[in-house]
């Protein structure tokens, strides 16, 4: 009986397990293999080069800039996303006229197609586009947003955050609603300030959600391809060429399969390290769990 039951278990998980094996684990194995070879895609010849591609990482003159852009983009997205998501959740976690409408508005970009959303922002951010047109009404001459490094980076960060912060807002809202109201009552009787209650009660109690959203957000930011491809194509220069975009360029624009795979594995390492790090932090930092 128990054995038959176990067999059923294996059968139930097999589509998912086989899917992960075929579409994730085997490709990762192949990526490692490619990274150790030079691949002439025109003749189809593979030549073993050992660690050459890994050594090339150190000599790639573009890589420092790419990693810098990746750090600024991911860091910017996570910081802004968590801060804004939490602020919105706190503002909307109460009853007042129109609260549902505001929640809906802030959430709505989540269901807008990424490419459509990015196209519209690109349209608004043109030199003669809506945003500069609006600024001109106040006599302000706006920059050519997408053609200057710092403003282009700011644009991709903001575009990404505004589109996705609704998810974090909703997660924070439900976490806030899980904080027992009596705690605030008790703290208030003890004369606690609002800010103290926020840092001593709210933040610790929602820390599991904070951590979870931080993981989701940073992993999402490291994989943001469409936004960059549509809005800036990595430009101007290399200023918004983040690692995922660079991987794509190397592999598909320049046909450097070997080096592209090496870069892809570097991306994978970052994602893995961040996840492990955050799980470690979870032990120290998270005060409360179900």
């Amino acid at each position: 009986m128990a054995r038959r039951d176990a067999l059923t278990g294996y059968l139930f998980i097999s589509p998912q397990l086989i899917g992960v094996l075929v579409f994730v684990l085997i490709p990762v194995g192949l990526a490692i293999y490619y990274s150790l070879n030079d691949w002439n895609i025109f003749t189809g010849e593979l030549q073993f080069v050992g660690g050459d591609h890994y050594a090339a990482l150190l000599e790639d003159p573009q890589l420092p800039s790419v990693l810098g852009a990746t750090a600024i983009f991911s860091g910017g997205v996570v910081a802004l996303n968590i801060a804004l998501g939490l602020a919105l959740a706190v503002m909307l976690n109460r009853r007042f006229r129109g609260v549902t409408l505001f929640r809906t508005l802030f959430f709505s970009p989540v269901v807008v197609s990424v490419v459509a959303w990015t196209l519209v922002w690109g349209f608004l951010l043109q030199d003669n586009g809506g945003i500069n047109g609006f600024l001109a009404q106040f006599g302000v001459v706006g920059p050519n947003w997408l053609q200057e490094g710092p403003t282009a980076m700011a644009a991709v960060i903001v575009t990404q955050v505004v589109r996705s912060v609704g998810i974090n807002m909703v997660l924070f809202l439900s976490a806030l609603q899980g904080v027992p109201g009596e705690l605030y009552e008790a703290a208030r009787i003890d004369g606690a300030r609002n800010s103290t209650m926020f840092t001593r009660i709210t933040l610790p109690l929602i820390s599991p959600t904070l951590l979870l959203t931080a993981i989701i957000t940073i992993v999402g930011a490291l994989q943001a391809f469409a936004q960059i491809a549509v809005l800036t194509q990595g430009g101007p220069g290399l200023s918004t060429t983040v690692l995922v975009y660079y991987v794509f360029q190397q592999a598909f624009d320049f046909n450097n399969i070997g080096y592209g795979s090496t870069l892809a594995l570097m991306l994978l390492t970052f994602v893995m390290l961040l996840t492990v790090l955050q799980w470690q932090l979870r032990r120290k930092w998270v005060f409360y769990e179900d």
Binding site: V111, L119, N194
Partner: protein, 308 residues
Amino acid sequence: MTSGAAGTAGATGVRASPPPTGVTQRKVPRPGAAVVRRVILYVALIVLAAPFVVPTVWMIASSFKPLSEIFASPPTIFTDSPTWAAYAEAFTFQPFAQQYFNSVYIAVLVTLITMLVSSLAGYAFARIRFPGRNLLFLVVLIGLLVPGEVTIVPLFQMFKQVGLINTHWPLILVTALAAPCVLATFVMRQFFISLPGELEEAARLDGLGRVGIWWRIFLPLAKPALSAVAILTFLASWNLYLEPTVYLTSPELFTLPQALTRYTDAYGGEMWNTQLAAATMTVVPVLVVFLIAQKQFVEGLAHSGLKG
């Protein structure tokens, strides 16, 4: 502002003041203070809402503008001479109707497969004991950690070997079985774990086997989790951009995100109003469904995250 808001936030349902009685006489309000705070809140929310709302409104409004008015200065939001020309052009410039159908059928198919696969796996990981269960669950979770950009080059080669390049199969199979499905399996497992253990015992007394228990007892109970899964998966498939760009070369096979970026003239310049019309047609139906079903939408999403 944030911390001030947080204070009232906790005491849900307490209408912003009157503030606490007690020893501290901090912030004892003049009668107008609550009103002032309320006004500040509204102003802050309206200003913050602009970047969330204006782009979509602008997109829809601009799609009806004649090309000459697209970059008018000063900018107009609503045009005096609306035209459907851009909408007509969206369909004649590319096989847009076909591309629309492609996106819809792929997303629906992927969502159905994922609901099936993830509820089976989630049920087994949560409720059936078998050797290696935790290890296998960890193996599956790896699928969530590996970015699609890492596997796309090998996957391209694999699909090329079996002759599936320039077909929809890669978009269906990878989405329905890899990362989005793993997330779904995780959500389903967490949900099924939270259900009481007596469910199986009762079902067994009724003579149900595992398949019966899964289908007749657990799936009906799992509606909130399943709707979360359906929403997340549908959006994941609907938004795919890298994958179609890599796998598809024939315009009649394109999906919407890819098609939207192809409205460029012979010089590579964007055909803005056509692009915005196509984008509007892509965005508005999903937005309408969301507005109708937003309660389930938001609760479903919250549910999927909370139980992490």
